[in-house]
Amino acid sequence: MIRLENIVKKYGDNIVLDNFSLELSRGERLAIMGESGCGKTTLLRIIAGLTEADGGEISRNGDISYMFQEPRLLPWKTAEENVCAVLGKKNFPLAQRYLSLVGLADANKKYPRELSGGMAQRVAFARFLAFAEETGADILLLDEPFSALDSETEAQMLNILLDFAADKTVILVTHDDDTAQKLGGMVVKM
């Protein structure tokens, strides 16, 4: 489903990825850990096609849903409108369903500036899930998706992800050992 072969990425003289190879089949899960600046986000961005590699080959089959490290919410739209903005027309029920699922049913009319960092991250998570459901995305890429959450909420969100991604390929970047283990797949330390 995802195949990376000898991927190279440099920023100036700094080689971030040096002949990195990886192969993941459908339904496999991978947690990527490592120090800040070691290339975790770059790797995820290369897989998503947001950053070009300087060398190597990439192949992937399937649609992608991607969750950024920062919420990246539209400041002029409510939580509900933020989720709807990436969905097709008349998909408010889907947006509401996922906002409820992440525990934000009461906050759907709030603007990003009225949300805490953790709530904004959950809105972004709801958007990510709703988009994946609508498009049938089978590759889920998450870049430190729960970094702003307390441990209890993080565990709840991880459970939602595990239920949702039963037969999907998941790559999750995290700093947290526990989260990496709970994902239940391979763990790569970069």
Binding site: F68, R72, W76, K77
Partner: protein
Amino acid sequence: MIKKALKTLLIILFWLCVWQGLSMIVGLELLLPSPIRTLKRLFELAGTLSFYGIILRSLARILIGTAAAVALGVALAILTARFKLLHDFVSPLMTVIKAIPVASFIVLLLLWMGRDILPSIISALIVLPIVWTSVETGILQTDKSLLEMARVYKMSPWGKVRHIYVPATLPYFVSALNSSLGLAWKAGIAAEVLALPAIAIGKQIYESKLYIETVDLFAWTLTVILISLVIEKLIVFAIRKATSSKMILEVAHDKA
């Protein structure tokens, strides 16, 4: 709210008293009419039908020029934000338009075109560079991380325009309108004073000066000021209604 209105009223009253005091010191209505005499004359003028006809003709002329410049400025901004080479061609032209004194434009254009259309062109020349610069800046400063988010979530080009570009650029657009409309109105009236179209506020001001009717000059000037204030309030109100999202204007306020 009431406290703020009362404060504004008191400040206006203070300046009216200063005006009245100066007028009494000068002691000659021909040089400096009193506010009471000016208001009285304004009410007399407002009681005639021709007063409204004159205002409407001036308004129409200047608003047509302004609207055309806004449309052209926005369209040009979209294109120049997209094509750098076009920006490089348009930019010096806008700099020249901004730098040329309005009086030079008026005299020059009087040689080339009819006196009726001149105030429209002058208003347009005032508004165009301001709208173009602001809207282009707004488009170019659109948050790249939001555009990347839109790309990841496969937002359509129209979706990007509607959900990201328009709300991100609107504060710049509102700010451009706020700063250019007053100028366009004043420059348009100045053009009327020199071009003398048949029915125009500018012509009334010119004739007041010609026949040394200082009270009329003050009454018409006061009319210009009042219309300028009304236009400004109406535009901001219309944009607020059109956007329907108070958050966009709050973001605009933050940016300002």
